[in-house]
């Protein structure tokens, strides 16, 4: 039973919307850093609103998307995490209990980061996030402090994330990157294939999250 002789079965693990969210956040994080560093504040702001839309979509997808995208499916309590660390858990199809923490941490930090960005003004009080008009000059300055600090925190978690992926690749011989690109992964064991959400469902989410992000980018006015 099992072992090398057995044919590995490939199943669809990550749907297209989830993969697009993942890789666009990689590109956005780099571009947001670069546009800030090079003083392209207006472009930085626009990219920020796009990031907001993508994060909102990820939240939507975490509630009603494919089973591997849903928070209710992959977020586990401390007992499950401890069991996973001891090696006593069944094969994870999708995020494992420990990886779930990394997902929550990264998503949570990015949401708070974008949140602060909306109230942030540049050091001159010339450019500002769309919601800065609702707060004082001092508060918008304070938000900038957090916006800068949290970015470094996010970078730290990204580094951890990459180190963990390298650890799985080298030590555990488990390639997590190619499934995030192709969507499919081969399993030795018989595992239940995740349930994939419909395209119509994704379209509703894209529409909703874009509309909200647009509204926020306009300073909550129509």
């Amino acid at each position: 039973m099992g072992g090398r002789g057995r044919a590995r079965r490939s199943i669809k693990l990550w749907d297209l919307p989830l993969r697009l969210v993942h890789w666009s956040l990689v590109v956005l994080l780099a571009s947001l850093w670069w546009t800030w560093k090079s003083g392209q504040t207006q472009l930085h702001e626009k990219l920020g609103y796009i990031t907001l839309g993508i994060l909102l979509f990820r939240l939507y997808w975490g509630l009603v998307g494919s089973s591997t995208a849903r928070f209710s499916q992959f977020v586990k309590g401390p007992r499950a995490i401890a069991a996973y660390l001891r090696g006593g858990s069944p094969t994870s199809v999708g995020h494992n209990p420990l990886g779930a923490l990394s997902v929550l941490l990264l998503l949570g930090l990015m949401i708070v980061e974008v949140g602060f960005g909306l109230f942030t003004q540049d050091v001159d009080g010339i450019e500002a996030g769309s919601l800065a008009t609702y707060v004082s000059y001092e508060t918008a300055d304070w938000a900038r402090g957090w916006h800068e600090l949290l970015f470094n925190l996010i970078l730290g978690v990204v580094v951890l994330h990459v180190i963990a992926i390298l650890f799985y690749l080298v030590v555990k011989r488990d390639n997590l990157v190619s499934p995030m690109i192709t969507g499919s992964k081969a399993f030795d064991e018989d595992v239940k294939a995740p349930r994939m959400a419909s395209i119509a469902n994704a379209l509703v989410g894209i529409l909703l999250s874009s509309a909200i992000a647009w509204f926020v980018s306009k300073g909550l006015t129509l």
């Binding site: 003004q121 001159d124 009080g125 010339i126 008009t133």
Partner: protein
Amino acid sequence: MRKAVIVLGSLALSGVAFGQLSAAARDPATVQKIVDARVAHYKQIGKANKAIRDELGQSSPNLATIQTNASVIEALAKQIPSWFPKNTGQQPGVKSEALPVIWEQVPTFKQRAAGLAGAAHQTAAVAASGNLDATKAAANNIGAACKACHDTFREKK
């Protein structure tokens, strides 16, 4: 009474003279105080600019508010050269973003400060005339004037 005024006056004068003499050798804490004071002044400009920007973001901006804040910026901008006595730039024990080039190109620096005062004056004038579109354009020049000076004279982060 008159004597007291004279005594106070001469004390004040000697204070000024002393200040000038010791300009080359202020201790870092004193320089930092000067730096902090000018940062606080710049924040007043930023605050007034935010007030203008916030107003222009409204559906029906209050031009009187814009005029008031533009006048605040104009008054402050005219003081800018006085916020930069010699030897109050970057030096050991002092945290400042003011680049040495400020004191190497004093005429240009003064010209940029005057540029801000001019843009603010123009904004106040068109706001007073009641023309919203012209006010918006003029207000953008305030931001551009800030940037024009910062690009050359302030340390980039």
